[in-house]
Amino acid sequence: MTMHDMPAGPALDIVRRLRSGESSAVEIIGACLADIEAGNPGINAFVHVAGERALREAAALDRRLRSGEDLPALAGVPIAVKDLFDIAGETTHAGSQLRAGAPVARRDAAAVARLREAGAIVVGRTNMDAFAYGFVTDNARYGPTRNPADPSRIAGGSSGGSAAAVAAGMVPIGLGTDTNGSVRVPAALCGIWAFKPSYGRIPTAGVFPLARTLDHVGHFASSLADLELGYTVLSGERTAGPDSEAGRLRVARLGGYFDAHCDETQQDAAASAAERLGAGGVIEWPDVEAARAAALLITAAEGAVVHARELLARPGDFDPACRDRLLAGAQIPAHWYISALDLRARFAEQVAACFAKWDVLVAPAVPCAAPALDALDEPFGAERWNARASLGLLTQPISFIGLPVLCAPVGQTAVQLIGAPDQEATLFRAAARLKSSSASLP
């Protein structure tokens, strides 16, 4: 089922129907909950559905509407939230049994609060890799999330539940996080729109950390218009608006490392997007392999810091998929970590130079299409990649230096549109141009 088939509809349409009186919020949320009840057993996107609370909030919204109140931008829009964000009154499990006895959150995470203040209704928490440390969303406690396009395959991770919920048409917008690619990898494997802004653009307050100097908040959407609306609310910024296609864009395709680490389908997708954006050339970044290596070291070291007390006290309670990596991260010598930080500063300077000439860079987001769930530990794809270790090969070097990235669907995958620091609006302009070149893009 796609978003266009569902009773609730895309976010902008929901808000229009609510404001016009065509539908009530209770009807919209009721339809969404029915979709989740019907579709979730097949893909396991949600680990907890807050139906009663969501209907209560919808009824309150209907009362506001009846009293003549102006409704905010996301009024009545059902939202899926990764189980890494605090939601007031609920326990944030972060995908781990270690958090089973944790107290409930006293307040919403900042990103969740912004969405709710804008009238969005959180319908449930979504599945993820334990502690967001992975790219597959195969969780020891909750099981795997399946790709809505082919349930024998993964949806990607670590924000796989939110991506699958959007791809399946259960909700128009899903909230995720991206430390090394955890929004962009599932967006590409599910073929949907997604956005990860510059590092720090959306506050991470109330988000259970993976690696503090790399963690970003991001989101998925069923259409570009909803993606932009979600970003406007999450960031408090205006993007390009209705004339978003206007103006000259200098576009190049990222080659070299990015061509070498994906199969022909992904290369073709990036080349097609670049061509439709009128790309003026193919460029290469220096030291990308070392940058990706440094991102892995920083993640391992900072991740171990977050979990140091539990690794000492009860290592056996960790999800096996992340326990050994966190224990290994705890052994990293200081000079590895500090050298990785130094390399990050230099890599950011080297990359910044290319944005004097280019506004947008196009790159593939994943090495290949979604691997099968029963073959995650087998080599796959043209280069015999290991899924667990390799799905972030093309995303890690970019989030490493905090650049904004918009994932745009191309065929069955999605490609990365990469911008200079803090140039989010430019990426929405590029995405609008890409959408206008393809009648099939939502």
Binding site: D287, E289, A290, A293, A294, L296, L297, A300, A304, A308, L311, L312, P315, G316, P320, R323, D324, R325, L327, A328, G329, A330, Q331, I332, H335, W336, S339, A340, D342, L343, R346, A389
Partner: protein, 53 residues
């Protein structure tokens, strides 16, 4: 007495941790290779620079 602050590797997880540490070491080598060593700087007769040119 103060409890340990060093995180041990439980024997039952030693193999998995060793495998992950070996991978991290490969990554560290890629990173550290970008830095100039004191020996390399001495060969050039310069003070060590943070990165190889």
């Amino acid at each position: 007495m103060m409890s340990s602050v060093r995180i041990p590797i439980p024997p039952e997880y030693a193999d998995g941790v060793a495998e992950n540490l070996a991978r991290l070491e490969q990554m560290a080598r890629l990173v550290l290779d970008r830095f100039e060593t004191i020996d390399e700087a001495d060969e050039n007769g310069d003070a060590p620079r943070p990165f190889k040119a």
